[in-house]
């Protein structure tokens, strides 16, 4: 089981859980388990084409999965997945 940390504003879509333990051999499988368990999270994380929203980053422990094997990154028991947005701006 891997632990997925749920950001505060998304807990309303995850029965108020701040984290959830899920099965899955890869990041994609764990995220599929997450959105199966909490279908309302899907719209927050993925667009209508099923692609991860542009501002969503996923970290496996302390590493950005973009620099690993993206959503094919293997997940081991005891790993932690974090969902972190990209944020920038300017006048």
């Amino acid at each position: 089981m891997a632990k997925v940390l749920i950001p505060t504003p998304l807990r309303q879509f995850a029965e108020k859980h701040d984290s959830v333990d899920l099965t899955g051999a890869t990041v994609a499988e764990v995220l599929a388990s997450l959105t199966q368990k909490f279908p309302d999270l899907r719209k927050q994380l993925f667009n209508d084409e099923g692609k991860m929203r542009s501002f969503v980053n996923v970290y496996l422990n302390d590493d950005d999965i973009r620099y690993l094997q993206k959503d094919a990154t293997p997940v081991a028991a005891g790993d932690t997945l974090s969902i972190v947005p990209s944020i920038a701006g300017g006048v």
Binding site: L5, P7, T8, P9, L10, D18, K43, Q44, R53, F55, V56, N57, Y59, D62, D64, S82, V84, P85, S86, I87, A88, G89, G90, V91
Partner: protein, 141 residues
Amino acid sequence: MIKINQTAWDAMVAHAEAKFPNECCGAMIGSIAGDVKDVTLAQPLENAYSGAQGARYELRPEDLLEADKKARAAGLDLIGIFHSHPDCDAYFSKTDLENSCPWYSFVVLSVKGGKFDHANSFLPNAEQTAAEKEELIWPKS
């Protein structure tokens, strides 16, 4: 509604004024009860934008992850993001909108001539096409 306490507000304004004429950025941490978000801690973060920072800011996701961990460890929540607009009003710009996320409150501090002038809070949508203004309460000095 988002309420910012004195300690957090002082840290936000100090960071915004210290970084003037550049934009500053940071995380707002606290707790949520019903529709009220109480910010009790402001965590200044580094503006990681690689170009001129007078009109741009960028948060490193790793820094935000660390802020979230810090909040969780203290039994608090990451509630929002703040940044400054140097010599400019506290509106939510096109650049802000196109690089936002719908999960957090975004507080913009206007700093004019190096001194805080006014602030507003915004809630962007998931499509990054619109941001609703949110009631913001800060300690008036």
